[in-house]
């Protein structure tokens, strides 16, 4: 087929660009450290049962400061904060990742459609801009409160209010890809829209999507923490936000620093490393800052 010519001519260039990106990335210590920390966090999430027991029941030493037995101290029911943070990693990352994936799915769909089908662009662009101007956190609070808090609600609520950002980024990247010669060529040879989008547009916006997944996940983790902190978390599961919520309700924010420091640090670690990773990847991809 004639298109295979296009593919093969493009492929080597892509590959070398990929290798160049990776080499540039590997030179940036921040990117590498971030990647390592993220892998570690993912491992903690997966291996939570091996690291500590599920935090349940109660303990007699209430609000004990960090010690040999309880590395991160205990909360106001005498439960181990370390175990909570470990198990919280699981739920926080799960909520963050699923919300992010959902948001990405919607965002990519809208963004690509807007860039590819030009007649929808004005309308879709408007919807995205309009959605971006809504006060997001208050709306999340409202919906979570009315629907009733649960992990599922949190995922959907966060996703529903996060996609416009993704759509905006994807659209602007796709706009740069659509007029490229190989896309026009694909049109000329009669490729179907779906095929062109899958074969040419999506790979073109893939780097942006990758960055979006990472950034949206971290923002979703922060949103979840905020909602949980305001009492809209899932009471039947542990997330970092839930730990902070317990600390806030029991009034130990200022008196038992360990109940807030460690979950806050966990959030910080995740969000910082994901963002740094995204920045490092972007820099590595951009020949100007390589």
């Amino acid at each position: 087929m004639s298109t295979s010519v296009l593919d093969t001519t493009l492929a080597p260039a892509d590959e070398s660009a990929g290798r160049q990106t990776w080499r540039a990335f590997a030179r940036n210590p921040l990117g590498i450290i971030s990647l390592a920390v993220l892998v570690l966090l993912a491992l903690v999430a997966v291996a939570a049962p091996l690291i500590s027991n599920y935090p349940s029941g109660y303990g007699e030493s209430v609000l004990a400061a960090p010690n040999g037995e309880h590395w991160f101290g205990t909360d106001d029911l005498g439960r181990d904060v370390f175990a909570q943070v470990v198990w919280g990693t699981r739920v926080s990352i799960l909520i963050g990742l699923l919300a992010s994936l959902l948001a990405i799915a919607i965002g990519v769909l809208v963004g690509v459609a807007a860039a590819y089908f030009r007649k929808f662009d004005a309308a879709l662009g408007m919807v995205v801009d309009l959605s971006l101007s809504l006060p997001v956190l208050p709306l999340m609070i409202l919906v979570a409160a009315l629907v009733g808090p649960s992990v599922r609600t949190l995922i959907i609520v966060i996703a529903v209010f996060s996609w416009p950002e993704v759509a905006r980024v994807v659209r602007s990247q796709a706009l740069a890809v659509v007029p490229l010669p190989y896309v026009s060529a694909a049109h000329v040879i009669g490729g179907s829209h779906l095929w062109i989008i899958r074969k040419h547009i999506l790979p073109g916006v893939a780097p942006v999507i990758a960055v979006s997944v990472v950034l949206t996940t971290s923002r979703a983790v922060l949103s979840e923490a905020g909602l949980a902190f305001l009492g809209l978390g899932d009471p039947n599961s542990w997330s970092w936000g839930t730990i902070l919520h317990h600390a806030q309700r029991s009034g130990s924010l200022a008196t038992a620093w360990w109940t807030t420091l460690f979950p806050s640090l966990a959030i910080l670690l995740l969000v910082v490393t994901t963002t740094l990773l995204a920045v490092a990847y972007n820099d590595a991809r951009n020949p100007r800052s390589r």
Binding site: Y58, D76, Q248, G251
Partner: protein, 531 residues
């Protein structure tokens, strides 16, 4: 050039706003406490200034200082004189007379009279306003014998009327409220006319409520001691406690969470006051739903709760046992010394459930087909804690308990629809057993969350309500309470002991029961002084 423009615009906004919300009252700067003012922290704004409608805690604290009630309450729940100096039943419980203190004046100079009392109760009855309307079902009409004497007439003998009306009904000025098309819808949000020890002078929503002394207040010699009472809003209890430690506020109106209360015990600049609750914390089993309609199941559930551990750990010892009785130790004159708490016995719970036909067929340690939903208000820090403990001890007994910690509105919607297996919550004020047990346990009672309907129990409560003296009410009420315990219509876990903290600079507060009265009640704030 562009950023500078932006900067200038932002500066202009700030400069303009700087002048707008500040107020031109005279004063010498600084919000620090002095003998002139007591500053009280609260976690929420006043929602409604109409004392007959407002029902949040902050509403009550503020309007309590403005609108008198017929009677006050001593620390053991007995009624004390407030607007009324004397009250008694007449005609064998078919009526009552109340004599008013002639010293009370509305802040616009008019005296508080029998007409104001009659106007208020008639408005409550006519417009069915709030909980008071539910408590005065037997009220028929009232007449003013003199400006300081009211005569009430009932449709049936009611020995709970004076306690209920005396404590629950704030008296409002007839000459202000009667001009409104509807008392219930009256916002009462400005030009307040009140008769309590303090009158509301200034409101800055989201920040503070300033009340000024009413010199003529008759219940404290020489009038209230402190010139101003200021309520300041701190939505977060952590910040609120920091403000107390910093000296920015003198008193925290809301009870502190037990763990926090413990942590400030060592601070010499802060004093804690123990305030008994007038209510109790409990779980109620929805007896209209299988399998909770079966007594053995309810008994098994009651045996799968570690009551002692809940009080020790979740409440940090800031609670006492009520011996599983709805007659709590706070109300000593009603308490039944023979009551005994359900024992925590996982084996017994399992035996009872096995006896009721439940099996663990799949060997997962849980009885098959026994999964129950328990709802509670996620915002209540204590319940959120012990609910988890109950879930874990239930699991030991093979009972699967699903917690539904709900956002407040969803919670209210669910319990009003009785949409739960188990309801976990707490009563704030159950000050008068004959009246309260009627609402909470009679068939179709307004707050009958167990959905119980037991004619024998109803008869006992009715009998008590028709008696006019406490001694005669006590017998049937104690029998009713015993029946509630035996049938597990209510599982009373504990009676909380609230910790209210204030700056050690202040003294001479008057402690009254419940978080709503505690040391922020009108008499207490009127008589408090710097120590």
């Amino acid at each position: 050039m562009k950023p500078i423009r932006l900067a200038a615009a932002a500066l202009a906004v700030i400069a303009a706003a700087a002048c707008a919300p500040s107020n031109p009252d005279s004063g010498s700067g600084g919000g620090k406490a002095n003998a002139e003012r007591i500053t009280i922290g609260t976690t929420a704004d006043v929602v409604n200034y109409n004392p007959l409608v407002g029902n949040s805690r902050t509403d009550t604290w503020v309007t309590n200082l403005m609108y008198p009630r017929l009677t006050g309450m001593s620390v053991d729940g007995k009624r004390t004189p407030y607007l009324a100096t004397k009250w008694e039943y007449t005609d064998g419980g078919m009526g009552a007379t109340v004599t008013l203190n002639p010293g009370f004046k509305w802040s616009d100079g008019k005296p508080v009279t029998a007409d104001d009392v009659i106007f208020t109760i008639d408005a409550v009855k006519k417009e069915k306003i709030g909980i008071v309307a539910g408590l005065i079902a037997a009220y028929d009409s009232a007449t003013a014998v003199s400006p300081t004497e009211v005569k009430f007439k009932f449709t049936r003998p009611d020995g709970t009327f004076l306690d209920n009306v005396g404590f629950w009904m704030p008296v409002v000025p007839k000459h202000v409220f009667e001009a409104q098309p509807s008392v219930q819808k009256f916002a009462n949000d400005s030009n307040w006319v009140s008769a309590g020890p303090y009158k509301l002078a200034k409101v800055e929503r989201g920040q503070r409520y300033v009340l000024e002394r009413v010199d003529s207040f008759p219940l404290v010699d020489g009038g209230p001691k402190t010139k101003e009472v200021v309520f300041r809003v701190y939505p977060d209890v952590n910040t609120e406690v920091l403000a107390l430690r910093n000296g920015e506020i003198d008193l925290i109106a809301n009870a502190l969470p037990p763990a926090l209360a413990k942590s400030v015990e060592g601070d010499s600049k802060i004093k804690s006051v123990k305030v008994p609750s007038l209510g109790w914390a409990h779980m109620q089993y929805n007896v209209k739903r299988a399998p909770l309609d079966r007594l053995e199941v309810r008994q098994a559930l009651a045996a799968a709760v570690d009551y002692e551990a809940i009080r020790r750990v979740a409440l940090q010892g800031k609670a006492v046992s009520s011996n599983s009785s709805v007659l709590t130790p706070t109300l000593k004159q009603w308490q039944d010394s023979s009551a005994k708490e359900y024992t925590f016995d996982v084996a017994k719970a399992k035996t009872l459930l096995t006896g009721a036909g439940f099996k663990d067929g799949n060997g997962d340690g849980l009885f098959d087909g026994l999964s129950l939903r328990m709802i509670y208000d996620q915002a209540d820090p204590n319940i959120a804690k012990w609910a988890q403990m109950v879930r874990d001890s239930h699991k030991e007994a093979g009972i699967d308990l699903k917690l539904e910690g709900l956002e407040r509105n969803t919670y209210i919607a669910k319990y009003q629809a009785r949409d739960y297996d188990i309801y976990a919550g707490s009563w704030a004020i159950m000050d008068n057993p004959p009246a309260n047990l009627g609402l909470a346990f009679k068939c179709n009672g307004f707050i009958n969350y167990a959905n119980a309907c037991d004619p024998a129990l109803d008869a006992l409560i009715d009998e008590a309500q028709s008696k006019v003296d406490q001694a005669a009410q006590k017998g049937p009420i104690q029998t009713a309470a015993k029946m509630i315990t035996e049938k597990v219509y209510d599982n009373v876990l504990y009676v909380e002991e609230f910790t209210i903290v204030h700056s050690a600079k202040w003294a001479n507060f008057d402690v009254q029961p419940s978080e709503l009265l505690s040391i922020v009640n009108p008499r207490s704030l009127a008589q408090a002084t710097l120590s």
